[in-house]
């Protein structure tokens, strides 16, 4: 692992744990097992380091989503696959995910913007899938933007337990995750 990666990993985990401000460059360096000023050999400032961390997380998230989109099956299946990919990403790259999850509480103005962009991209993606599904007759004629937002929110909340402390309840989390996705598709009303 290159030293740059070492630093980014340390940074990612600390930013995830404590946020941008509370994490100090010294801690990051310590966790990376290097001297404080070495950080500055690789990143011109703490802010740049955070930005890179963010971008890294973002890229690897987008990567994780790849290939889920063009399977020749129902849109419902595609969305479920995306959900699965999302859930897996959260489990494997928890600290990256934690940083990406901080849509609110501005860590810094430009971070907000990047995260907002991510949000928009995801909503656009979902929205277009949902439109497809509607055209194909899979889904009823809902407002695809609203539905996309809902899907986004559902993915978000359902992963929160994992983002929190928890190694503990992985199975439960997964189950509830799929149950939640199901509710998104079928609603909760009793419609016999």
């Amino acid at each position: 692992m290159t030293k740059r990666e070492l630093i980014m990993d340390a940074a990612a985990s600390l930013f995830a744990e404590k946020g941008f401000y509370a994490a100090t460059v010294e801690e990051i360096a310590d966790r990376a097992g290097i001297g404080k000023s070495t950080v500055y050999e690789y990143f011109p400032s703490k802010e740049h380091l955070f930005r890179e961390t963010l971008k890294g997380g973002l890229e690897s998230y987008m990567e994780a989503m790849k290939g889920r989109l063009k399977q020749p099956c129902s849109v419902r299946d595609v969305l479920t696959a995306i959900g699965t990919a999302h859930f897996n990403f959260i489990q494997k790259r928890t600290s990256a995910a934690r940083i990406l999850a901080g849509e609110n509480s501005s860590q810094s103005p430009w971070a907000d913007e990047l995260l907002l962009q991510l949000r928009e991209r995801r909503i656009t993606m979902f929205s277009s899938l949902l439109s497809q599904g509607i055209e194909r007759g899979e889904f009823r004629r809902v407002d695809s933007r609203a539905a996309a937002e809902v899907f986004l929110g559902v993915l978000g909340v359902l992963c929160m337990p994992v983002l929190r402390g928890g190694e503990d309840d992985k199975k439960g989390a997964a189950e509830r995750f799929y149950h939640g996705i199901d509710i998104f598709f079928s609603g909760i009303l009793d419609q016999e």
Copy 2:
């Protein structure tokens, strides 16, 4: 308005805008129109001030939810009423809401805890309502915890546009909000 309230208001808006770290005590005092050290007459530390701000937002949120629960009508209507109350709260007390929305990106460890508690309380409430609804036959037999989480998430995302910059698109936001709630109840599948 008492001086204490003056401070808390200033604090709430600044914490909402910039987060706990980036907001300085001096700015807060300035915005409140008082001297910097006066803040310390009313709050022992910046952290306490934040805590109080948080608690204040929390209380007024709980207050806003009150009375929505015991109407003699369908559980669906109760949940919708809660959604409405939530949406109205977000619009009227945007900065309080912004602070409460920062579930992720820890501003401070104990803040996380408080917000986690709020989350739990809300889930419990929703969950119990959903159980009621299931018993009454209004809803199908979903996992009420999972459904509660989903409902929470739906309320969250749908309010984000309002929490962001936006005075702009209030009507659109409201429409999409109710559309989203509807999706929660009915799902998106075409089930003729």
Copy 3:
């Protein structure tokens, strides 16, 4: 003496002794007998502090020159009076003078500019006096700009011994000073 002045004095003497870079804010604060961060209550940065120091020296220099210009006597006397004022200033406000003397060796780009401006103002002043003297027939028809520069240089070098360490040789310095001025007026050639 106000605290601001206390700081500026400490700063002036340290900047004079060691230059902008080698003088640390901590030393300045120590010499002023205050805490390091107090400096920042009065000046937004070390650079600003330096700038103010410079400006202060500049103003008090210009002040010291005032009133020397409009005496109803020969231009030679006016120039000599200016020389005297200059010499006295150097002796009374040695550290301010030392800073102003640093025309070369850039302490910082904008400092250079300020000092260059001072140089220009002085040359202009001398030049105009010299032109007067020429018109009146006191001086021969020299290039007034060149002569002004020479006068400036003469004032400068002749004061250097005082700017250096020396309490030691005050009388000698004064004597040589006036002797030097005389050379400026009469040259060194033997012209009987």
Copy 4:
């Protein structure tokens, strides 16, 4: 050109531009087109490098002055020749000259000392020439030390325009230079 010279040249120009502190070893290495630590193969420290640069400038300055002294002509001519040599040196080796010109604004305590020594040597030289001239009856009986200082100062100021930015006004500078020298010899008084 040896690597040592490469480094010294780069150092000279950077020290001239920015002063001792603002010039970094890295920049110097970059400008010399070598690796940073190679500098340390040739010079034990930045300070030593500066010292060498200074000494180099000093030597080449002394070199430039050589041979001007023993011509069998008037002392006035010798001094003028020295002035010319000085002026030429300033134009050809501007950055070395800039460093040597920084008599004031201490870049470092020992640098001050070296420059002070240079100053003394030059004054001694001028002073002895002037004494000769007085004995020969070329000059009137001035204090030769004072006159030497004045000559030094005159050479200094008159070269400043060249040391500043200026490729622009070379002819004007040269003219004013000789005019200034003339003033040193003849004074400015009208002595018909």
